[in-house]
Symmetry: C2
Subunit: 213 residues, 2 copies
DNA sequence: CGCGAATCTTGACGAGTGTCAAGAGTTTTC
DNA sequence: GAAAACTCTTGACACTCGTCAAGATTCGCG
């Protein structure tokens, strides 16, 4: 990934072992963070649920905040490409909408703790200025992700997107958040509702022709 | 409010003085909570920014959590009727949409700390089960509020709402949250964008006729 | 092997937390 | 006006937190 000048024939020992350890620590920390949230997850608890001791955190990160930001960034990196397959494989507008809905439901089922962690962090960024830059960047990448989906949908339908990317992102993020809340509350039908809402909403993102089949 | 049997001629001394104090404490606490958020606002800090001492909290509330839930409930109570005037006074669909957008912008400008506190609490409820009941109730009342607006809008336009209340609420909540984030980030145009987005979105909430003038 | 640099553990420090009990102060009631 | 009930303050307790320093352990290279 990073440009390796390789001063000697050292394959992977100089400083990217450092990076590997950071990632390992992050993956471990993400479990605890997803379970407890930003405020309640102490460094000791994070370390206990990992193979490390609580002091090692300050060897790889300056700060608790730096660790957490690193973790969320690390997770969201894989997150923005979740729908790339959907965009690539969809054969029709309806097909795209359905695959998109399915994927949204799937990620709530499988990664609910990660998503609530993200919303936690984003809320904290409203109070903690230190977090804002990272949150803004992640939010932007998510908006781009949605924009790719909407664009592809419009192309498949032979139409133009009717809404700017920020609006589309805000909308989907809003109903996604509601579905996540409902799911965590154990509300029956929360996920089916999300799927249906997405499929029903997609046609409205296009100009004139409306739903095209 | 509560049924007053009034055992003697006591006007307002028995137990509603208790309630008044709770409200006074809540109003004071809301300032600190809006500034620091749920996790960082300690009871001592809350008490310092009020006329009380830190011990008095446990005289009126069992718990820090009970205080905070009471506070947010208390605030949101006044919040759900913010748009009643808009609904009552609007003379046309466009008029309603514009007034609605204006009000949304206005409340971000004037009560941003309260709104971020709400989002903070809602995020925490994803981790803390104790909070879920209150959050669910508040969310429902907000959804109803949006539903009243959409219904009135549809009536004025002589059409039927095209989206179920949960979707409409999720959408508006999503773009509102983005606008709040943008505003707190100091992003220029965040509020004007919100206003335009709302005005542009409203016609999509109706069936066939689309935007009616 | 042996030495130095890296990685990691352990234990402690100080600050801050929610909670509560004991009592002072105030108001109400008889 | 005394007694009882209510209201509030003060100070302490037990605990958890992030941080860091000092030392143990491991690793890589000459």
């Amino acid at each position: 990934m990073t440009q390796v000048a390789a001063p000697k024939a050292s394959r992977r020992t100089p400083a990217d072992k450092h990076d590997e350890r950071r990632k390992a620590l992050a993956e471990s920390a993400l479990r605890t963070l997803g379970e407890l949230g930003y405020a309640r997850a102490s460094l000791r608890e994070i370390a206990n649920n990992s193979e490390f001791s609580h002091g090692v955190v300050h060897y790889y990160f300056n700060d608790k905040l730096e660790l957490i930001v690193y973790c969320v960034r690390y997770y969201k990196e894989t997150c923005v490409h979740r729908y790339d397959g959907v965009v690539a494989e969809a054969t029709s507008p309806t097909d795209l909408a359905e695959r998109f809905g399915d994927k949204l439901v799937e990620t709530i089922v499988e990664e609910a703790p990660m998503h609530r962690l993200w919303y936690d962090l984003r809320s904290q960024s409203m109070f903690e200025e230190t977090l804002r830059e990272a949150v803004t960047q992640i939010d932007q990448s998510l908006e781009d992700m949605i924009a790719r989906i909407v664009d592809r949908y419009a192309t498949l339908a032979g139409a133009e997107p009717a809404l700017a990317a920020p609006v589309a992102y805000g909308m989907f993020d809003g109903i996604f958040q509601q579905a996540l809340l409902g799911h965590l509350n154990g509300r029956e039908g929360a996920l089916e509702d999300l799927r249906a809402q997405v499929v029903g909403l997609m046609p409205m993102l296009l100009t004139q022709p409306g739903a095209m089949r």
